[in-house]
């Protein structure tokens, strides 16, 4: 596939990409034409009528009906074409095909959670290729916006109702998936990937993804990884490296030893104890099951120096 200015010219990764990029190139050519007229026109006019010596009286021409009609009507015709084309593409982006696979999306500060029809969940959007996928999205807190640049799709994710978008990956591979509505401290970390797999590999992945996810998967799925590093670097929240067994100083000056019960409380009621130097911004995790909680705490315990 050939890329220029970020838009594909040949070979698309999805049908929506092709629709949008064709329109993009049409508008680009129209724009380049007018830009050339304006810039070239200015350069020629300045070169031709450059002042030499003192100015005398100049032409009083201030109208040319034919010219004015041309430069009013021509842009109108072009924008009407662009409008209809743009609207047509927009409707195709808005209306998902009937055979779409439906995946529910929960957005929150600051991670994405994808829920599949079979009840399994994932922190990455794993999809089969050549299959339209419809996302039904809602937010648990503020407004987010789900954006997959390679597929040219984006839709705000609202806290008080569902919004939807659809796409289809025609090529297996990894694609960026990110939040584009500013949502606070972790906005630029609210990132995950679309992983498009061939059909058989996708089915294999689905079987493996049943039941309780492993600790590392949960750590990503519940968005812990957005704010808590595993390598000792402080992020929006404290690092997990060497956390278990450590003594933390809290915002009110008291100290607490990090044990299983402290971790449990901090996951279920994040605002109960705030470590000094950090903001009370962690969201509660009401969806977490007790099996998952055990697996997650075991994973955090295993992050030793």
């Amino acid at each position: 596939m050939l890329n220029l200015l970020g838009m594909q010219i040949l070979g698309a990764v999805s049908p929506t990409t092709k629709m949008v990029d064709d329109l993009f190139w049409f508008v680009f050519i129209v724009s380049a034409f007018f830009f050339a007229i304006v810039t070239g026109g200015i350069i020629i006019l300045v070169a031709l009528y450059r002042r030499r010596g003192k100015p005398g009286l100049t032409s009083g021409a201030s109208h040319n009906t034919a010219l004015e009609i041309v430069w009013s009507i021509l842009p109108v015709i072009l924008v009407v074409i662009i409008f209809f084309w743009g609207f047509q593409v927009f409707m195709r982006l808005s209306i998902s095909p009937g055979d779409s696979m439906e995946i529910r999306v929960t957005a929150r500060k600051w991670n994405w959670l994808f829920k599949y029809p079979d009840g399994s969940r994932s922190g990455q959007l794993v999809v089969p290729v050549e299959q339209p996928v419809r996302l039904v999205m809602s937010s648990e807190d503020v407004i987010h916006s789900l954006f997959i640049p390679d597929f040219r799709v984006k839709m705000d994710v609202l806290p008080n109702r569902y919004t939807t978008l659809w796409f289809q990956a025609d090529k297996a591979g990894e694609y960026d998936l990110l939040c584009t509505e500013f949502c606070g401290d972790g906005h630029s970390r609210m990132y995950t990937k679309v992983i498009a797999l061939p059909k058989d590999e996708f089915e294999k992945w689905q079987t493996e993804n049943q039941g309780t996810a492993s600790g590392p998967d949960l750590f990503v799925m519940y968005g812990c990884a957005t704010c808590h590093s595993l390598d000792g670097k402080p992020g929006i929240g404290p690092t997990m490296k060497g956390l278990h067994g450590k003594t933390e100083t809290l915002a009110d000056g008291t100290t607490v030893e990090v044990d299983d019960n402290y971790l449990r409380e901090s996951i279920l009621e994040p605002q109960a104890k705030i470590v000094r130097g950090y903001q009370p911004v962690m969201p509660a995790q009401p969806d977490i099951t007790s099996d998952e909680l055990d697996a997650l705490i075991d994973f955090i315990k295993s992050q030793q120096e």
Binding site: F24, S31, I42, C183, D185
Partner: protein
């Protein structure tokens, strides 16, 4: 060169109190100029900080929250404290009465009050700034701003609320002045086009600003726990805020760009020494843009979950606002035809405006097309687009106007070589900073991102961000040079006569700087502002 006139509006009275209690529109304009330049510097320093942070992926200088606060303060300061008041309150205030041939604006006390209200609003914004600044973006979207942000949101929104009144006062003053105070013989169509631009701007200021005031007040009351309008957990609708906000803030785009267009009409006619092409079309298109501007706010919300049919209507109407803007550009180009073009510093800014505004306008076509906007919304493509319109358009026009009327305001000329050099730096720096952003935006680089190290395209983004940051440094250097030669000219600049450019509108008929009452004798209108085919200006 002739000696400085006996007494002018600057030398007539001395002392700080003579400024703070002045009712002279020219002095109030200079007080505005002083303040907005301070805020332009502050907003610009924030911009440099942002560009430094984005120089490379990962954390460079500031953390994530500090970055969020920095881009919020950059936007809020530049929009509410710099661009919106810049042209109307400085150049409009200074020039409108002189161009109309009158002594002052209709309500001089209201004019002074608007400056004090501006200062009062600015204090609240500064209060937010010294606490680190809000982190909501200048758009204050709910429910993040009301329910989630832990930064000083109330002080900055209250500041913007107060600043709105200052804007309304100025608009009101201009409308009444234009209706009632024109010199004998100055009919509507003999006014310089600058006055038409100010008139169209004033209409929007009066009609749209109250909506912003109401919206921000609702936000503050909700944040104080008094009412619930936007909070989704208690039955409110956060998207309603976006409708309210853009109902003001889209027309506000025209509060910002129409004055820029108003300046360009003057600059091109004077420095091309040519009758303006299509006077009435330029005048009416300003008013048309002002009115149409109220019907397109939904194009900021194509992916907000609004009905696709609402999006359709907003997209359709948005395209029609592009047409009068395009017509203006063609009219300005046609004015150059058979003119006598002098590449003075103001003319360079005017020509740069034509090119940059054209890019800004054409990229608006991309964003107006629904299918493309889905991709571009909230990416750097949008950031680049509005900087081409707001900075390449309005700010270039503003500095073009400053360079054009500087001799009138202070009676002195700046160093032309230094000014041309600074212009080249600004033009190159601007395009390097923002053209790169179109490309990374189209690729999918989202705006308001502190870091881009997660992306698969990290290396490409790094390259574009790097160029953009270099461009920003060149821009900063350009403004630094401009500051030096402008301040230098105030004390050492060559004195100039009343009409250094050979203009025909009334401000060139009085001395530089003008006397307090603007004209020694009430001016008689002997020719139109653009009659370069009939009259040869004196003293060029």
């Amino acid at each position: 060169m002739e000696a400085a006139p006996r007494l002018n509006y600057i030398t007539q009275r001395k002392g700080i109190l003579s400024w703070l209690f002045t009712l002279d529109h020219k002095r109030i304009a200079l007080m505005y100029l002083f303040m907005i330049m301070i805020f332009f510097l502050a907003g610009g320093l924030y911009a440099l900080l942002l560009r430094l942070e984005l120089w490379a992926p990962g954390e460079q200088f500031i953390g994530q929250r500090a970055y969020n606060q920095a881009f919020t303060m950059h936007g809020a300061i530049m929009i509410f404290l710099f661009i919106i008041p810049s042209i109307p309150a400085v150049l409009g205030n200074f020039l409108l009465p002189i161009m109309l041939g009158t002594k002052d604006v209709a309500f001089p006390r209201l004019n002074l009050a608007s400056w004090y209200v501006y200062m009062f609003g600015a204090i609240f914004c500064l209060w937010s700034l010294v606490q680190g600044g809000a982190d909501t973006g200048w758009t204050f979207y709910t429910p993040y701003s009301t329910q989630h942000s832990e930064t000083p949101v109330i002080s900055i929104t209250f500041g913007a609320f107060i600043l709105g009144f200052s804007s309304i006062f100025t608009g009101l003053n201009f409308i009444v002045t234009i209706h009632k105070m024109r010199a004998p013989g100055m009919t509507w169509f003999k006014m310089p086009l600058f006055c038409w631009g100010m008139y169209a701007t004033a209409l929007i200021q009066i009609l749209a600003t109250p909506v912003l005031g109401i919206t921000l007040m609702l936000l503050i009351l909700e944040k104080l726990g008094i009412i619930v309008v936007f909070d989704p957990t208690r039955g409110g609708d956060p998207v309603l805020f976006q409708h309210f906000f853009w109902f003001y803030s889209h027309p506000a785009v025209y509060i910002m760009i129409l004055p820029g267009m108003a300046i360009i009409s003057e600059l091109i006619a004077v420095h091309a020494h040519k009758k303006i092409f299509g006077y009435k079309l330029i005048a009416f298109s300003s008013v048309a843009i002002a009115l149409l501007g109220f019907l397109v706010w939904g194009h900021h919300m194509f992916v907000s979950g609004q009905s696709p049919y609402a999006a359709m209507v907003f997209s359709f109407l948005s395209f029609y606002i592009g047409v009068p803007s395009g017509i203006k550009v063609f009219n300005w180009m046609a004015t150059l035809y058979k003119g006598s073009i002098s590449l003075t510093v103001p003319m360079l800014y005017a020509l740069a405006f034509l090119i940059l505004f054209t890019i800004g306008g054409l990229t608006g076509i991309f964003l107006g097309a629904l299918g493309i906007d889905v991709q571009m919304h909230d990416t750097y493509f949008v950031v680049a687009h509005f900087h081409y319109v707001m900075m390449g358009g309005t700010v270039f026009a503003f500095f073009g106007g400053i360079h054009h009327w500087w001799p009138k305001m202070f009676g002195r000329l700046y160093n032309r070589t230094a000014a041309t050099f600074a212009f080249v730096l600004l033009f190159v720096g601007f395009n390097l900073t923002f053209f790169t952003q179109f490309i990374m935006g189209a690729k999918g680089m989202p705006r308001r991102y502190w870091d881009y190290s997660d992306f698969l395209n990290e290396k490409t983004y790094h390259m574009y961000h790097g160029f953009s940051s270099i461009g920003a440094m060149i821009l900063g250097l350009g403004f630094f040079v401009m500051g030096i030669y402008l301040v230098h000219s105030l004390f050492r600049g060559q004195r100039c006569g009343s009409n250094p450019w050979g203009g025909l509108s009334l401000e060139w008929a009085t001395t530089s700087p003008p006397p307090t009452e603007n004209f020694e004798h009430p001016p008689r209108l002997t020719h139109g502002p653009y009659d370069y085919d009939k009259v040869l200006p004196e003293n060029i």
